[in-house]
């Protein structure tokens, strides 16, 4: 490969990706009766909101933003979520994993690695049922993980939200077939073809606001498995895991219990982009939920995980 410097790659967002994603947003609005945009508060779903705004401007986003609140979110994420909903004038629906637990539909995990990441599937499926959503837009990208790399843009799920990898519909050219039977629904991934770098370059070019935890800040953390974890009341610490202060930021924003921080001084987006380009570890590498087994993601998707 021609030896390019990191600088050569910075600031080049392929604009065609945006056109393709806007096209997908409009297909969702047109082909489904009750679509929803699943909003996690992370950079990918913030990107989705921007794309949805662009797709329907000067009209409003014709579907609600839905947040499945695990109760273990970073407070900064929640604050940002509420701000963004107000800013865009979009309808916001929030449902709580805690409610699913209280209703006995989900059971809190125990032990050192306990998280609510798996439990949120229960709440999500209930929410889909409650509002009869027939399409849920999500910010998953194919470059994130090897099972995701296999997924279609319109991904049909059965009554139980399950993904059958071996029976996916052919998806040809840009033609999207969203026809489903009663009870089925479709997960839609408009930024399937974007990479982590594309997202960051887009956020930069669009001058978008993002939650503060993506930038460098001081925080109490513990070290576990060679990674840094935010100390919080939700993290089950062992006796020798003593919190200390570090200068960190997050590359991906999930629950406090399953998202590792990286040591970083990046206070602005250009530095974040440089960090990503020179990083040795992938974005998903900082998610403990994927490490449980080699096929963790595919198995969770079979169960209805996003």
């Amino acid at each position: 490969m021609t030896n390019s410097t990191i600088k050569d790659k910075i600031g080049q967002f392929p604009r065609k990706l945006e056109d393709e994603s806007i096209y997908i947003m409009r297909e969702v609005a047109a082909q489904f009766e009750r679509p929803a945009l699943l909003f996690s508060g992370g950079k990918d779903s913030i990107t989705l909101v921007r794309l949805a705004q662009k797709a329907f401007f000067p009209g409003k986003i014709p579907f609600p933003l839905v947040h499945i609140d695990t109760g273990h979110n970073f407070p900064e994420t929640i604050e940002f979520r509420d701000w963004l909903a107000k800013e865009t004038g979009a309808e916001l629906i929030v449902r709580y994993v805690q409610d699913s637990i209280d209703q006995g539909k989900a059971k809190e995990e125990t032990g050192k690695y306990a998280s609510r990441n798996v439990l949120q599937t229960v709440t999500l499926l209930d929410t889909i049922e409650e509002f009869k959503f027939d399409a849920c837009i999500g910010g998953a990208r194919r470059d994130e993980e090897k099972a995701r790399a296999k997924e279609r843009i319109f991904s049909v799920r059965d009554d139980f939200g399950q993904w059958d990898a071996k029976r996916q519909r052919p998806e040809l050219f840009d033609m999207l077939n969203g026809r489903i039977a009663v009870g089925e629904n479709v997960r839609v991934f408009p930024i399937s073809n974007w990479t982590e770098l594309d997202v960051w370059n887009y956020i930069k070019e669009e001058k978008m606001e993002i939650p503060s935890i993506y930038f460098s800040h001081q925080r109490q953390v513990i070290e576990r498995d060679g990674m840094l974890w935010a100390d919080s009341e939700y993290l089950n610490k062992e006796a020798d895991e003593i919190p200390f202060e570090a200068t960190v930021r997050f590359r991906t924003v999930g629950d406090m219990t399953c998202t590792a921080a990286v040591e970083s001084d990046a206070v602005e987006i250009d530095i974040i982009i440089e960090e990503i380009l020179s990083a040795e570890i992938s974005e998903r590498g900082a998610r403990i939920d994927d490490k449980r087994s080699e096929a963790a993601m595919e198995k969770r998707k079979q169960q209805g995980y996003f």
């Binding site: 056109d19 806007i22 297909e27 000067p58 194919r142 790399a149 040795e280 992938s282």
Partner: protein
């Protein structure tokens, strides 16, 4: 920055996934944790080398069987462009997944095993590449290490493909041949030290040098309407904007257009993108168009230039078809036809031919088409579709057929 879409093809075990893994590995596109995961997975399979095919074969069933079942999409970029690769399965049974992956490709990498030479899948995939009008095909003769990097072997395979290529190719399609070893990284991104007799480009060199018409800006102007924007707010009280992605050609403010199928004319008042006013927009742009007059236009209608007397409205037409469903095509049955964003009912009045991809002959006496078969049909639609001849304007000439009851996408057609 432009995007180049590539798809792999070739028979089972020819080394497609390994090739893609190698390409990513050599361009430093795989992060350390992913390489570590590959190392431990390779060890678990008791291999003494890094099995790069595991990078794309991500499904449990694929890793168990060591084959690709469904398309994987992988990404890497160079300072020149962003690459989107569809790694497709080689097994005949999964041809429909191969077609899915290839449908957006501008370059098809067809692999041939140096020991085996040309096989049935080579012919099938060359036919599909031609059917899809993929502008560039690189025939990669892989596993050269297993034939001692023998030039004569490579030349013999090239020679044996000559007549097949001549039969399948179309004017303007670029075809090149490349001797490689995916496993040992010969000719992927670095010149092959084991094959000094080969003087041409490496695979990456070939891809980087490929110039393609990124947009179909010079084709006839076609704007399929996806969604009508009517904010009905105080500020935009009478606003009516037509949202869509231009499928080919160029539109400018002031252009006199007509809406199909009604034929009503109007003039473009504005072309907008998130509030930004554009003078013009071209193929691939997702925009909103407003008109100077109120015209009755809804989703599925198309805007074309009023001067375009050739703009097609098809109700009874011939097409090539590739069948994608386990349930065979049955003439007389009603299907849903989706052309772009437009949906209408369709009946296949006749199957006109079925292609024998190996012999490159076709039989006329056919009454059904099975999974993965390619042929010709005649169809009638309930409403006219605004489709061009695929070979002349690929971005507006393809359609899919959907089974009304299973909702599956059962076939892909190309207007003749």
């Amino acid at each position: 920055m432009d995007i180049l879409r590539i798809a792999t093809a070739g028979s089972v075990d020819d080394g497609k996934s390994t090739l893609i893994g190698r390409l990513l590995y050599e361009t430093n596109s795989i992060t350390k944790d992913k390489i570590e995961a590959l190392e431990s997975a390779s060890k678990r399979k008791r291999l003494d080398f890094l099995d790069l095919s595991l990078l794309t074969d991500g499904l449990i069933a694929e890793r168990e069987q060591g084959i690709t079942i469904d398309v994987a999409h992988i990404y890497f970029s160079t300072p020149t462009r962003k690459y989107i690769i569809a790694d497709t399965p080689g097994h005949v049974e999964y041809t429909r997944n191969m077609v899915t992956g290839a449908s957006n490709a501008k370059v098809s990498l067809i692999l041939v095993d140096a020991r085996q030479g040309v096989v049935e899948q080579t012919a099938r995939h060359l036919s599909i590449a031609a059917l899809l009008r993929i502008p560039k095909v690189i025939i990669c003769v892989n596993k050269m290490d297993l034939v001692q990097y023998d030039e004569a072997k490579f030349e013999a395979i090239k020679e044996s493909l000559r007549s097949l290529v001549a039969q399948t190719t179309f004017v303007g399609q670029e075809i090149s041949f490349l001797p490689i070893s995916s496993l040992f990284g010969q000719n992927i991104t670095q010149a092959a030290d084991k094959m000094p007799w080969y003087q041409g480009n490496t695979l990456l060199g070939e891809l980087e040098a490929f110039e393609f018409a990124e947009s179909l800006a010079h084709a006839p102007a076609r704007f399929p309407v996806q969604w009508v924007i009517r904010p009905k707010t105080e500020e935009y009280h009478d606003y009516r904007g037509y949202a869509g992605k231009i499928s080919s050609g160029t539109f400018q403010v002031g252009d006199v257009i007509k809406a199909l199928p009604t034929g009503q004319e109007s003039t473009i008042a504005s072309i907008e993108k998130f509030g930004e006013q554009l003078e013009r927009a071209e193929a691939g742009d997702s925009v909103v168009i407003t008109l100077t007059t109120d015209v009755d236009i809804s989703r599925g209608n198309s805007l074309v230039l009023a001067s375009d007397t050739q703009a097609p409205q098809l109700k009874d037409f011939a097409a090539h078809i590739c069948w994608l469903d386990h349930q065979a095509l049955s003439p007389g049955k009603t299907y849903l036809l989706q052309h772009g964003v437009n949906l209408t009912k369709a009946k296949i009045s006749q199957i006109t031919e079925r292609l024998d991809v190996v012999a490159q002959t076709s039989s006329q006496d056919v009454d059904s088409m099975k999974l993965n078969e390619i042929g010709g049909i005649q169809l009638r639609t309930a409403q006219p579709i605004m489709a061009d001849v695929y070979a002349e304007n690929p971005s507006n000439g393809a359609f899919i057929l959907i089974d009304e009851f299973s909702n599956s996408t059962v076939g892909v057609g190309f207007v003749k």
